[in-house]
């Protein structure tokens, strides 16, 4: 189970999440997004970048509510909403956006 990028082999798990998150790159994000049927826009990147920064600091993806609050500050009230996030990532921002950001899949009762 692996992606191919610029001649490199990048391992992923059964559901397509990267096994080693240090192998993530913007090019990798494009491949992951395409797999999810998502065309990356500036707004998608805004979310993905926030997730990566948060992960870098806390070694976990944030609660969606915390993500929405941060987006409200950078993107305004309309785009900083749960519903807007779902228009960006229809299968759910927690799982789909994490995948594109190269983060592990969130687990638990969620």
């Amino acid at each position: 189970m692996a992606y191919e990028l610029d001649g490199q082999t990048i391992e992923h798990d059964e559901e397509g999440y990267l096994t080693d998150l240090t192998q993530w790159s913007e090019g990798m994000a494009d491949i992951l997004a395409k797999d999810e049927g998502i065309e990356m826009t500036d707004e998608h990147w805004e979310v993905v970048n926030f997730l990566r920064e948060y992960y870098d600091e806390y070694q976990i993806a944030p609660a969606i509510r915390v993500l929405v609050k941060a987006l409200k500050k950078t993107m305004g009230k309309e785009k900083g909403s749960n519903k807007y996030l779902y228009t960006l990532f229809p299968y759910g921002p927690a799982k789909q956006a994490c995948k594109i950001a190269g983060l592990p899949k969130p687990t638990g009762c969620i």
Binding site: E14, Y58, Q59, N82, C109, I110
Partner: protein, 527 residues
């Protein structure tokens, strides 16, 4: 007869939530949830992969369980094939696969038990439905015992009280012991050991998240409502599912608990050691893992020096707490004996309501027409309060105290006979989504009926798994993902706190119109 318009529904409007499906042999035979990796297995003390002598190891383990758990042997011996359970499983109703009939699921294991542990099975196996344990049988166990949410609805209708959940737990324990565990459960238990909770949410992230929620609460109410963590000397330790820190609508329940504690000036704390109420050790039938997870709660209570332990809205956590905690991690003789231990947050809140210590403006919940989903483990394995049926009445009493519009679903789908959300018992994983959607069908049908009859818009629950499951599957049945609510979310909306400012209108919900459910596919074919 004069013509008149009426909103009363006609018989044609209703579908029977418990309708029998069309039988489809082997419909979910191939449904194979991801297996645990060696790393996930080994962290829990299980072999990394299928051991060479798996046959003997499995039979020895079954023998071990038969001596340890008398109930297990009684359940395997006492079935008379009366058929009372056959149509009681939501996964059978959803998939139509006869092996999802509880008796057939039990027989997958019972047939092997007979072959190796009964005289008749040893000598005349074919006459008594006994069969050898082969690799195919092991695979069948793996697939079908991961299509049981251990909700125990079938056992309510069994005249002998045979508990399929016990058999399903034993099967999973045997599978783990031979090196064939499930990824979802075992990876999560490993995270509890490594980080402290099912999410793997580290303490700094947890603290930052709680601070963020405190800011939100202050913005909403103008009050400094705290979500304290690791406070030594606090009176109450709140142990809640980690989903309450990140998921929707769980967070709103957490904020509700905080407001209740704030309202009476209670001294309380969360713990980073026991930052998880859930105990997946039960789902995999592993006493050792269940005990290890439970001991974290004891450790936290001792380290913080609390007087009481209160559990948040989590179904199976309440079963482990109510039924097993003292055996697993007791004695809790260091707690204040004046309080019931452990206590459910609903008991805590209802007690305050009864004493008149909480005040509500019910009209703040007028945008909701509510019903309540009884979570399986709370309904059938525990109690609340000091009267029989308290686990049914107390959450409903809280809802009626905080909302003007409450309507129950059909009697045979609630309380003791409640139908499962479809995601319990370690099945709340994306790779079982098709099964989850199908398994939710009886509950969703019952909900559609009260939607038609009473205009019900929302359903409340007291279990993290139920809430996440419904948020995911409700859209498949014509509802919105936010039509599922936490019970303490309704408390949070309606509670009147001294000095709090008036709530602002939440525009997101004002324009909400109950959607019309799409035409339903025939049973057994829901996508």
């Amino acid at each position: 007869m004069s013509e008149q318009t009426t909103s009363a529904p006609t018989v044609e409007d209703y579908l029977d939530p418990l309708a029998l499906p069309e039988l489809q042999a082997d419909a979910s035979k191939e449904l194979h949830t991801f297996e645990a990796s060696p790393a996930h297995q080994e962290k829990l003390g299980f072999p990394g992969e299928l051991v060479d002598d798996w046959h003997d190891v499995a039979i020895n383990k079954m023998g071990d369980l038969l001596t340890k758990y008398r109930g297990f042997r009684v359940f395997l011996d006492s079935c008379v094939k009366c058929g009372a359970c056959t149509d009681k499983c939501h996964y059978f109703m959803g998939t139509g696969d006869p092996k999802n009939m509880p008796v057939a699921r039990q027989d997958l294991l019972r047939s092997v038990y007979r072959r190796y542990f009964t005289t008749a099975g040893k000598y005349v196996p074919k006459l008594v439905g006994a069969r050898d344990l082969t690799e195919d049988v092991l695979g069948e166990w793996y697939n079908y015992f991961h299509q049981c949410s251990q909700c125990r609805r079938c056992s309510v209708y069994c005249p002998y009280g045979i508990d399929t959940a016990e058999i399903s737990m034993a099967a999973r324990e045997i599978l783990d012991t031979v090196g064939k565990g499930q990824k979802y459960c075992n990876e999560i238990i490993g995270k509890v050991y490594d980080v402290g909770n099912n999410l793997g949410f580290p303490t700094p992230a947890l603290k930052a998240t709680l601070e963020s929620f405190e800011e939100d609460l202050e913005e909403e109410t103008g009050l400094e409502i705290k979500l304290p963590i690791d406070v030594k000397g606090a009176d109450i330790l709140l142990v809640t599912p980690s989903a309450d820190f990140v998921a929707e609508p769980h967070i709103d329940g957490l904020l509700g608990y905080a407001k209740v504690f704030h309202a009476t000036g209670a001294s309380w704390t969360l713990s980073s050691v026991a930052s998880e109420a859930g105990n997946f050790g039960m789902f995999i039938g592993s006493y050792e893992n269940m005990r290890k997870i439970s001991l974290r709660i004891r450790q936290a209570a001792l380290e913080l020096g609390v007087k009481r332990i209160v559990f948040g809205e989590c179904g199976h956590a309440w079963r482990v707490a109510y039924s097993f905690l003292n055996t697993l991690a007791g004695p809790f003789d260091f707690l204040d004996p004046r309080y019931t231990s452990p206590m459910h947050i609903c008991e805590y809140t209802w007690d305050l309501i009864e004493k008149g210590e909480l005040k509500f403006d019910k009209s703040r919940n007028d945008k909701y027409r509510l019903t309540f989903h009884d979570s399986c483990n709370v309904a059938r394995a525990t109690r609340m309060g000091d009267k029989p049926g308290g686990q049914f009445e107390i959450p409903r009493n809280i809802l009626k105290a905080t909302c003007n519009h409450f309507y129950d679903m059909a009697e045979d789908t609630i309380k003791e006979g409640t139908v499962c959300c479809g995601g319990g018992g370690g099945l709340l994983t994306d790779d079982l989504m098709d099964l989850r959607v199908k398994g939710a069908s009886p509950r969703m049908t019952a909900l559609q009926n009260v939607q038609k009859e009473h205009g019900v818009t929302h359903m409340a629950a007291i279990c993290a798994i139920c809430k996440s499951q419904f948020a995911k599957v409700m859209p498949k049945y014509g509802f919105e993902m936010d039509n599922i609510l936490s019970v303490h979310q309704l408390v949070s909306n309606a509670i009147l706190l001294e000095g709090a400012k008036d709530p602002e209108d939440d525009d997101d919900d004002d324009d909400w119109i109950p959607p019309t459910p799409p035409p339903r596919p025939p049973r057994g074919s829901a996508a």
